[in-house]
Amino acid sequence: MRHPLARRDRLTSLAFVVPALILFFVFVAYPIVYNFQASTLDWDGATAGTFVGLGNFVALAHDPVFTKTLLNSALWIPLTIVPQALIGLGLALMLNQPLRGRGVYRALLFLPTVLSPVVVGIVWAQILDPNSGTLAAIAEQTGLTFLKFSYLGDPKTAIFAVMVVNIWMYTGFSLLFYLAGLQLIEPSLLEAAKLDGANFWQRTTRVTFPLLRNTHLTLLLLGIIGSLKTFELLYVLTSGGPYHASEMLPTYAFKQAFQLHSIGYASAISVALLVIAIGSSLLMTRVFGAGFITGEER
């Protein structure tokens, strides 16, 4: 195979990936390297920075707000992924039946996912507003006064309120993935289980659910990454407040960079975020195999 033709063959093959690789190096690899480099500096982004080594990371380890962002991520990941998956799967199982108008249901339930987080954030800020909001109006007109509450303004509830908005927005996304996954299940397998006397619940839990493995894993991975990256909804709804109660890594990094002009510290936060995100992705592919991403059988 050590033939000039074989070399040419490989070069022309490589040409297909080169444009994507160039964009990768300029807009993905470079910003990552940049973050690592800037994380070693005490730097305001304008003047020359001073090298502080791992100083920013030492400071992070002692920063209660950073701890808070990690705790919030630890809450956010299960409390958004699980409801989105359960509601999405339940709806998908129903919409997978020969049902009249299922295209309409599917389209409407997916609709929130395509909207801009800015749009979704502003609408939910209006719904949850303790003075002129929809819930407040319901509280006043029905006497259910407990509904009138400053969900986004109270440190105890702020992050959970944003999670509810996230679930509203992305359940349709899980629904669509599950509908796609259900299409790949051989009807004969379910028929066989039916002949063996399995009822609908048994067929769902023992046959359908395990066969959706790759869909579960894909949604889990995208959910973890998406949770760690959560920025827009928080920015519009709470800006990470009140008192950092709903702060997550991206909002904190953004604040440090654009409001406090501590680019070095912001970069250290981003590095932490990248390490956690890449680490959990690699862990998932180690534990479950990469088949659910690459499409290859294990």
């Binding site: 994507a20 910003p31 996912t113 987080p117 749009v119 609408v123 299409q183 654009f258 680019i263 991403i293």
Partner: protein, 279 residues
Amino acid sequence: MSGRRPAQLSRRVNLLHLILVPVTVAWMLPIVIVIGLSLKPTNDPGTIAFGMLPRSPSFANYVTVFQQNPIPRYLFNSALIAVPSVVLVVLLGSMAAFALARLRVPAKGWIFGLLTLALVLPMSSIVVATFQVLQALGLYNSTFGVSIVYTALGLPFAIILIRTSFMAVPQETHDAAVVDGANKWQTFWHVYLPLARPAIAVVVVWQLMLAWNDFLLPLVSLVDKDIKPLTLIPLVYRGEHFTQVGALFAILIVVSVPIVATFAIAQRSLVNGLAGAVK
């Protein structure tokens, strides 16, 4: 064996409407609220249904919004950012996917791994570095600069999705094209690309969501007012005209119409596209 007649079965299936109708209606309430508030005229603040719907709906807010802002201009700017990034992500993504699925490329596994890395990057972490790259390339304050960054960020999803659907193309189909004398590009363009249409539909909607909905990058990298995209306007409005609630909600509708319309057109292919691609 079960002896159940189809008519009986479909009657039971139809009972699902009893669950699906209330769930869907509840899920749509926030959208009803946006529409309702956008139709609420400032001179008649009366509402029904817990403030969700106006007593006397009117399009006055839309008129105000179009009078106060060059909406067609912003709409054009959004398209100028979104459309090139969709085209580029489909083209470059499927080229890379083709090579990674079917061609002999050195270090294939590494290239695939690296290219998917962008999936984990949050915009807020790379915005400072990106800002500098765009400046160095002379693409700062340009819609094309924003567009190309979205392309880079959208590539991993496009590559994963299209690559999987390329791998489902039978090897014999590939070989037949080669026997017919097709070179790599012709095989890719005439054989593979048409077969990945459902996956490409998903990529188009996905990329459009990314490019149409992001506001952080335009917020920091587009300075001139007349190149700003539509998504930035609600935030500006919320800050400056916070008393004009109706106008704000009319803008939210205007921002959402193009993306919702695209989704409505593409939505039939979405499930099939995902099914072919996420195996």
